[in-house]
């Protein structure tokens, strides 16, 4: 009796879900998936603020496209590639997913781009620095890389500082793939511009005390302290450099620093730091207008990744509208044709390998005297054109370009 009932219910459920599946396949409904770090080290950089930015973009677009309301799904990948990939697959199979945003972690983003290729669903990577996502072996016809990559970060910070006359570098490098790749990229730029790397020290991830390493850096006699690390490793090493007076004799250069890092460190500690960013909230009227609306919702100024997420959502929705379909191949073709002009960038475009090309900005952290408010943190140091920052397409090692 009960078995019969269960079997009946199960049968009904299966046919219902089959129906739902075919309903999804038939419609041209846009379902955006945001698979991101909501609780880990990048939560402040993108996380919930990123979700808010996507919602703002959807609302600004009008809430619907091709006659259907736009749906948004969000989840926390906890910085685990398997979670990111399986959530992508699940949404693609069951929820009619048409595009995925985010990633924020290079490892997770690589896993997700493999699913994108399998399911033929566009994936816009934002926040992950690994250049291999579009200019290396992990590139797929469905990948787009927004905001920044290791190449543009190194080109910006390292070339600006070497050209300003500080030629001798010492690197404090996080001892894992991200840190060593960043150091490698920066070393190339330093030597190409006539600078010299006097030495480097590889520091284990999540080290609590950086003072020993910093004294070694100071002992090298180098002029620039290159910080090839991120997150708390970055903030703690800069804090200790300041405490031990090392920033008085060496110029600190961050290869990856975010607005939330600088805000939490405070200007007294971070002042003078040079780093590269793709966007800053206080650049022009358009950025300030967006930031004002963002601030009203989150009580924080948006960081570059949150602005990038907003821009990417709009760019995608415009491409869907132009293509008249959510079909992955057709939307990708439109994306690679589009000119991107919004509050995030001017004359941005997506290269054949999927890399989003736009200007990058080398910034310097203001001194407490220069700052007019809690979030008034950066002043411009140098602007790089898209080609200066990301390099030419001919240097891209994206495999499907060669076919």
């Amino acid at each position: 009796m009960t078995f019969k009932k269960t079997a009946l219910a199960l049968g009904l459920a299966v046919s219902a879900s089959l129906f739902a599946l075919s309903a999804h396949a038939a419609s041209d409904k846009v379902v955006i998936g945001d698979i991101d770090d909501m609780s880990g080290p990048y939560a402040d950089v993108i996380g919930a603020g990123g979700v808010e930015a996507i919602k703002m973009a959807i609302a600004d677009f009008g809430g619907s496209v091709l006659g259907n309301p736009i749906e948004l799904l969000t989840t926390d990948h906890q910085n685990k590639p398997d979670i990111g990939a399986s959530k992508f697959r699940e949404w693609a199979d069951q929820s009619g997913l048409t595009m995925v945003l985010g990633g924020s972690n290079t490892g997770v983003s690589i896993a997700m781009s493999r699913v994108a290729l399998q399911k033929k669903i566009p994936f816009i990577a934002i926040g992950a620095a690994g250049a291999s996502l579009t200019t290396g072996p992990d590139c797929t016809p469905y990948s787009v890389h927004y905001a920044y990559n290791t190449t543009s970060l190194a080109n910006g910070t390292a070339s600006a500082i070497v050209k300003s006359g500080a030629k001798n570098w010492y690197f404090l490098t996080a001892d894992y793939a991200f840190g060593t790749q960043l150091q490698e990229a920066a070393t190339k730029v330093v030597t190409a511009n006539g600078g010299k790397v006097l030495g480097s020290v590889r520091v284990p991830l999540a080290t609590t005390d950086f003072s020993s390493f910093l004294l070694q850096a100071q002992g090298s006699g180098a002029q620039v302290l290159g910080l090839a690390n991120a997150g708390t490793d970055f903030t703690n090493s800069l804090k200790a450099a300041n405490e031990f007076g090392i920033t008085k004799t060496m110029k600190p250069a961050a290869l990856l620093a975010f607005l939330s890092d600088i805000h939490s460190l405070g200007l007294k500690t971070a002042q003078g730091l040079i780093f590269t960013t793709s966007w800053y909230w206080d650049q022009n009227d358009k950025t300030r207008e967006f930031s004002k609306r963002f601030f009203e919702k989150t009580k924080k100024e948006p960081g570059e990744n949150q602005a990038a997420v907003y821009s990417a959502t709009l760019t995608y929705l415009n491409a869907v509208k132009a293509a008249g379909t959510t079909d992955g191949d057709k939307v990708m073709a439109e994306l690679k044709k589009a000119k991107i002009n919004d509050m995030y960038t001017q004359d941005g475009y997506i290269r054949p390998d999927g890399l989003m090309m736009h200007s990058m900005f080398v910034m310097q952290v203001k001194t407490p005297a220069e700052s007019k408010g809690e979030w008034d943190l950066y002043k411009p140091f140098k602007t790089l054109t898209a080609e200066e920052a990301f390099g030419p397409l001919s240097e891209s090692a994206c495999p499907f370009l060669k076919k």
């Binding site: 609590t208 997150g231 703690n236 939490s264 007294k268």
Partner: protein, 294 residues
Amino acid sequence: MTTIFGLPVSVILGQLMLGLVNGSFYALLSLGLAVIFGLLGVVNFAHGAMYMLGAYAAYIALSVFGINYWAGLIVAPLVLAILGIIIERLMLTRIYKLDQLYSFLLTFGLALIAEGLMRQQFGSSGQSYPVPAALQGVYNLGFMFLPVYRAWVIVASLTICFVTWFTIERTSLGATLRAATENASLVQAFGVNVPVIVMLTYGAGTALAALAGVLAAPVVQVNALMGSSIVIVVFAVVVIGGMGSILGSIVSGVGLGLIEGFTKVLYPEASNIVVFVIMALVLIWRPQGLFGKS
């Protein structure tokens, strides 16, 4: 210039000094852990979280209530001691009779909850706590510049370590405490309220972690995960010193800080595992730890 192992003496002295700073810090943190394990038999994995909460208590005290660093050194441990007592009363008392694995799991869960809540509230980038005005500046030691605050950390940690050791090993209160852990029912028969003693001990252990947190706040970013990265090292320190041995945790804390300091110069990549290599060696040759009773 004179060199030892190919390194200039000034470099070695500098690293010794930094090793001493970190070592005295390890000693202070492992002290609370050793007290709780030695007297309660609880493997307190929440110790790192209490250290983190201590730093946050000082941060909140300063930024919200305007309570300065020196008052924070007293307020934060008091607040955390009360929290510790609540945890002991509500949860730990129920599992004293069970295997130590249960206290380990319970406190580990508590640590995860505390970290999640603080991250939810304060975000993942952490907060800055300024070095108090009286302790700013550097001493020129000839071979290095030592920030005044770091020197203060050495003095404060070692003083607290000595006072705690003296109280437990050399006073009648300490004797009662130790007796209560050896044979609770007998001590109870002498008219000592053992459950209250146990409760206060857990509170005191928690207060020690919080105190370490306040001392650390001006040096590192106050962050929800600051405890979890250090608690594992501190556990290793306690195991090397001998679980529950107060003197062992102090001596091995300082010693390991020094060894770690040298590793940072000779082979930096290994600096975060050298403590565990030593732990493994100690466990092979002397499973009860350097100062533990077999």
